[in-house]
């Protein structure tokens, strides 16, 4: 089963929610929709599910036009952010409900409910009511209902937002292994770049209703086609500085000069925007052509095993992504090293014109 979206527009009350999206999802693929709030993720999923009909364009399932076909006549299931279960039904009956509607035999229902419950580690909770369960267990129940009926397309709309980060880590690992054994198309919406990376598969980056880029998740991350994709697919955000290449020199923000290196030599003289990943700036020199920059600490955000260091000087604000715990006082001075050979370059229209050589170049 493949799913194709062709020239999809969706307009609600005169406002464009989706514009000209083309997307082809292969059978058995795991696909992440990455975008900020209101970027069109939920709208796109509703169109895929048949909950809404697009204003323009076609939706094809296995080559067949299903554009106007309602959700009831498509074999899809959906998991939402909120834990949606039938409160009066046991976990068993919640998971069994789509099969009962489809008039599956009792023996087959029993087999499949138990199989799915085991996969989701809730086999010991089948007799309980949803409200007697923790948030994580309630969401597992909702997922069980989505997975039990062997849908062609399973849609997840930010399903882990209301769970704590340890549960999210575990869920992500499990989800990928659950879907690696299935032939359906999984679509998973998230606002978090790190979640997209952790899920792997393919990623479609959405922004203001438009599809910026679709491809293997690590390719989209390492090789963004334009500056917007690079910005949307980075957390902490990629550092962007304006710069000029003139003959033998590169200048950042009219002040920071360095001799042009082999990496950037192929670029024609002119104005660019340069991007440096937060993880590529360092507190210690990594290479002899690193530039030393003196900055002031805004804040050290510590995530347990990593530190996001926000710094600024008169010219720019930057974020560093450091391994380990680095405690800094607010307003402390800090020296950092800017890697001149790990720089993305974007032209004036925002299209990528250079990718760091260690990531394959461009």
């Amino acid at each position: 089963m493949s799913l194709i979206l062709e020239n999809i527009d969706h307009v609600v009350g005169g406002a464009s929610h989706i514009s000209d999206v083309n997307l082809q999802l292969e059978p058995g693929s795991f696909n992440v929709l990455l975008g900020r709030t209101l970027s069109g993720k939920t709208t796109l999923m509703r169109l895929m599910a048949g909950l809404d009909v697009p204003t323009r364009g076609r939706i094809l399932m296995d080559g067949e036009d299903v554009t106007g076909r309602s959700v009831r006549k498509r074999n899809v299931s959906m998991v939402y952010q909120q834990f949606i279960n039938y409160p009066a039904l046991s976990v068993y009956d919640n998971i069994a409900s789509p099969l009962k509607l489809a008039k599956v035999s009792r023996a087959e229902i029993d087999r499949r409910v138990r199989e799915v419950a085991e996969m989701l580690h809730i086999e010991h909770l089948l007799d309980r009511l949803p409200l007697e369960l923790s948030g994580g267990q309630q969401q597992r129940t909702a997922m069980g209902r989505a997975l039990v009926k062997d849908a062609d397309v399973v849609l997840f709309d930010e399903p882990l937002v209301n769970l704590d980060y340890k549960l999210r880590e575990e869920f992500r690992d499990e989800l990928r292994s659950v879907f690696s054994e299935r032939n359906c198309i999984a679509v998973y919406a998230t606002t978090e770049p790190a979640e997209a990376m952790a899920l792997g598969g393919n990623t479609a980056v959405l922004h203001e209703g438009r599809l910026l880029q679709y491809g293997r998740t690590e390719d989209v991350y390492h090789r963004p086609g334009d500056i917007l994709t690079a910005e949307m697919f980075s957390e902490p955000p990629i550092n962007i500085v304006k710069g000029i290449i003139s003959g033998s020199e590169v200048t950042f923000d009219q002040s920071l000069h360095f001799p042009i290196n082999d990496d950037l030599r192929s670029l024609a003289p002119g104005e660019y925007r340069f991007g440096v990943r937060a993880s590529h700036i360092s507190l210690k020199p990594q290479a002899k052509d690193d530039i030393e920059v003196k900055m002031t600490v805004d804040l050290a955000e510590i995530s347990g095993s990593e530190t996001f260091l926000h710094v600024h000087n008169d010219l720019f604000h930057m974020t560093l992504h450091l391994e380990g715990v680095h405690e800094f006082d607010v307003d402390a001075p800090v020296t950092l090293y800017f890697p001149t050979h790990k720089v993305y370059a974007f032209d004036r229209q925002g299209a990528v014109v250079h990718i760091p050589t260690h990531l394959g170049g461009a």
Binding site: T37, S134, G135, D164, Y165, K166, E169, T191, E192, P193, A194, M197, A198, G200, E218, Y221, H222, S234, R277, A278, S279, D298, L299, A300, E301, I302, S303, G304, S305, E306, F308, H310, H321, E323, G324, V325, E327, V330, H358
Partner: protein
Amino acid sequence: MAEITLKSLAHTYLPNPASPEDYAIREMDHVWHQGGAYALLGPSGCGKSTLLNIISGLLEPSSGDVLFDGERVNALPPEERNIAQVFQFPVIYDTMTVYDNLAFPLRNVKTPADKVHERVMEVAEVLELTAQLKRKAKNLTADEKQKVSMGRGLVREDVSAILFDEPLTVIDPQLKWKLRRKLKEIHQRFEITMVYVTHDQLEASTFADKIAVMYEGQVVQFGTPRELFEAPNHTFVGYFIGSPGMNFLEVAIRDGRVMAGKTMLEVGKGVHDAVAGARSTNIKLGIRPEFIEVHIEPVDGAMEATVQHSQDLGTYSIVYLTLGGISLKARIEEDQPTPEGRAWLRFPDDRLGLYVDEYRVEFDHE
């Protein structure tokens, strides 16, 4: 301003508690020093909300004492404790201006108008709300509303402590770090005892100088963010802090060697002697994914492991490994070669933690 002491404190919601599991808070002693920036971190159900309610006075503990500057306050209602609270959702009066919202707690206790004005202007300046003072609160953005909420806590000079309960939940991800910085500035400026309750390691480690990690009604570690990462005091802290958390291997001594299941571990004499000396059958070695050395070919003192798969997380990769049937995760930096099929692992002795009955035991690394 106050030092908050919890003395032999315990709490149960049951009438006849029989076992330790019946307690939401198991007996504990704890001190929050005057002027400290603290976090109370733990998963849902660990008891942190119960503890918060006991400190604020919404709940009276079943046993033990709560002391503010040495004075017992167990029975004092919240309004007599001079504690300010900031919740997940901003608590403000929508129809009032920002100015009146900030002035409200002071006018409530009949503060003279000139004093009210002075404090409101001072707090508004710190929170960068001066330009919004005349606006109705309902027209503010979520982060501005939450700043007003905080301002209402800060405006009274007699406040003993401010308790924060997941205050950034409703704030846009792109704005969170700015409010985190604001909180740190406020703490430096006002020198008030602040306790920040959260289930999120990033919130806790960024805000606090010291974090109390709660698990099953107990504080299992009270330490700096660095201590929680480098020397977790309990297996739960190792698991809960860091993404992914610490790896643990159940070990025992057989034939004079340190064994994890059927696998002989390559470890130093210090580790061996410590495991041999532990008086328990529950002995684990812990090592963080960051500290496992991963080689793509055999090296001295390395153990051969099978690579299940690896995941490129952009800035680094996590390699999922099995060592004699035990699952491990290791972190590989971007410029390091990623192993395929097989890998050779080394556990640097000084990065190994010894856990006996789930608690860390220090030992001599020889």
